[in-house]
Amino acid sequence: MIVFLDSSTIIYGLEFEDSNSANILNLLIEKEIQAYINEKVIAEVKTYFRARKGRNYAYLMEVFLRRNCVVIKNSELIDQMEILKGKIKRKDLEHIATVRLKEIQWLVAYDEDFEGFNEYITPKNFVKKMKLKTKSTEY
């Protein structure tokens, strides 16, 4: 199964061990799923952890993500972003562009701004799709 992992899934998975997002990160590590991200996801996660715990943790997260995910460079997204410009919020542009460029079925996120996109799925619903036991939280 190939998915796009939004920073919300990654961050909730690290903040809450007992969550569907944490289960998804475990699936990633065990290579049960293949995850695409882009440079903006890395920037978002690093920005979050830099503010939360400092630069060392931000760096550790970058290593973790580059080790386990396929990272799409911004330069690959220029044409897709041009097509989508004005149709979606600026902060989500790179993510939808990545999903469309690579024809990824699922964008796993806990972010209502993605509602309306067919690819959007919450961590809980994704875990259900994988036919695994879900946690009570939506994230």
Binding site: I11, E15, L25, Y48, K53, Y59, M61, V63, F64, T137
Partner: protein, 83 residues
């Protein structure tokens, strides 16, 4: 916790200064901490599962509510928009 006093000369000192000048690290101490982390990771001392466990346990020491995490994620997303 370990406290060390180390003297750096020549090329090592130049590297430390370059790491600060380039904005990668804010201080020489931070540069050394990051370099040590990279060295350990490059050698494969930590597997991905261990990195995840380290971060999760650190987060749980200062837990946030899901709402607080959500707000911080929104801010990080906005702050990461390329200009």
């Amino acid at each position: 916790m370990s406290t060390l006093t180390i003297k750096f000369h020549g090329v090592q000192d130049e590297i430390l200064q370059a790491l600060i000048d380039s904005g990668i690290a804010e201080s020489k101490s931070e540069a050394i901490r990051m370099a040590l982390l990279k060295f350990g990771l490059d050698l494969g001392i930590f597997e991905s599962k261990e990195i995840m466990a380290i971060i999760q346990s650190k987060m749980q020491k200062e837990p946030l509510t899901p709402e607080q995490v959500g707000k911080r994620i929104k801010k990080a997303k906005h702050d990461s928009i390329s200009r």
